[in-house]
Symmetry: C2
DNA sequence: GTTCATAACGTCCATTTTGGACGGTTCAGA
DNA sequence: TCTGAACCGTCCAAAATGGACGTTATGAAC
């Protein structure tokens, strides 16, 4: 065991979520990701099956597999895993955010702002609404979510507010102009 | 020729840049990406060699290869390529932006806001400064950059301003608190 | 209590994406 | 001419991606 493997963000996401959950199946993780991190950092579901496997093989996780029916695999962070997570958390990073926005990409290459706004505005508005809902919920439960999650959510809210404002501006401006050359 | 291939954002980036440049080598593209899109949408350099190859094989690009020394390959968009680009631009998208921010990820899992801020703030500040410099430049040249690029840059500036403000807040707040549980 | 539709859950696989190592080319100056 | 630094291009192993395709559980209708 303990092959050397490279740990990337997806690894720490799995490690971190499992540490919070105590023990969980990939499917549990998938649910949790959808509720929380999913908006910040997309993971295709398949990775939530392969990554824990990888981590387990390298000694960061323990597996407990069900006998019957679905043969679910329940994962749990090992000491080694906890330590790796701690080390990662303790280490600052100057790596910069990368925002992959298909709509901005189209904008960049000259697509019609108005056309994009029509599709983007509702999408961002509903996302913002969802975030604010979550914020409200987090504030109600006095113990509630850990500080870090709250802060991350703040980032999301700020970002979405700006996005809404931006696309609103794009939508208002004169009709389609798109392929102006 | 004209194998069916799937066109993704990287494809359109190559197509779009080549359309602007007229004709270019992967290295040229790499330079251009570094100056413009690179901050929004990272492409590893290798992809700027493989992707044009792929596109050429499918009939979206023409190749002209140098005889001597470096055997540079110069690419150029074909009619088919132009059409594909136009179609992509004409089609709205409700796909949402995804922001992959390692620092926010650490924050989420409980890393010390202050520690992160110390590394993130300078990084975002210098990026913001660079953006604003570019904005100024774009405004000076009256013909200057196409509208779309200007708008995309605006998005970047807005985003960076918020990031700077956010990390400033994180830095000011009480000293390290990190692994509070 | 069967039967069926639907939802829950898991795996596989072909493609892309990544990043980094490596190797050849060109150019400037000693 | 030699030599080191900057340029430029390719290769490869590893990981990410997404979507197709199974299987199992659930519960509503009969």
């Amino acid at each position: 065991m303990s092959n050397e493997i490279r740990l990337g963000p997806p690894s720490y996401i799995v490690l971190g979520l499992l540490e919070i959950a105590g023990e969980a199946t990939p499917y549990d993780l998938k649910q949790f990701v959808a509720l929380t991190l999913g908006d910040f950092w997309t993971l295709p579901h398949a990775q939530l099956y392969t990554e824990p496997e990888r981590l387990a093989k390298a000694g960061y996780l323990d597996i407990r597999q069900e006998e019957g029916g679905r043969h679910r695999k329940h994962y749990k962070v090992t000491e080694r895993g906890k330590q790796a997570m701690q080390e990662w958390l303790a280490e600052p990073t100057d790596e910069m955010a990368e925002m992959r926005d298909p709509a901005v990409l189209k904008l960049f290459f000259g697509a019609s702002p108005k056309m994009l706004a029509d599709a983007q505005l509702p999408a961002h508005e509903s996302r913002l609404a969802r975030y604010e809902e979550m914020q409200k919920l987090a504030m109600l439960t006095s113990d509630g979510a850990p500080e870090g999650m709250r802060l991350a959510l703040d980032v999301g809210v700020t970002f979405e507010r700006e996005a809404v404002a931006f696309w609103k501006r794009m939508g208002e401006q004169g009709a389609d102009d798109g392929a102006s050359d």
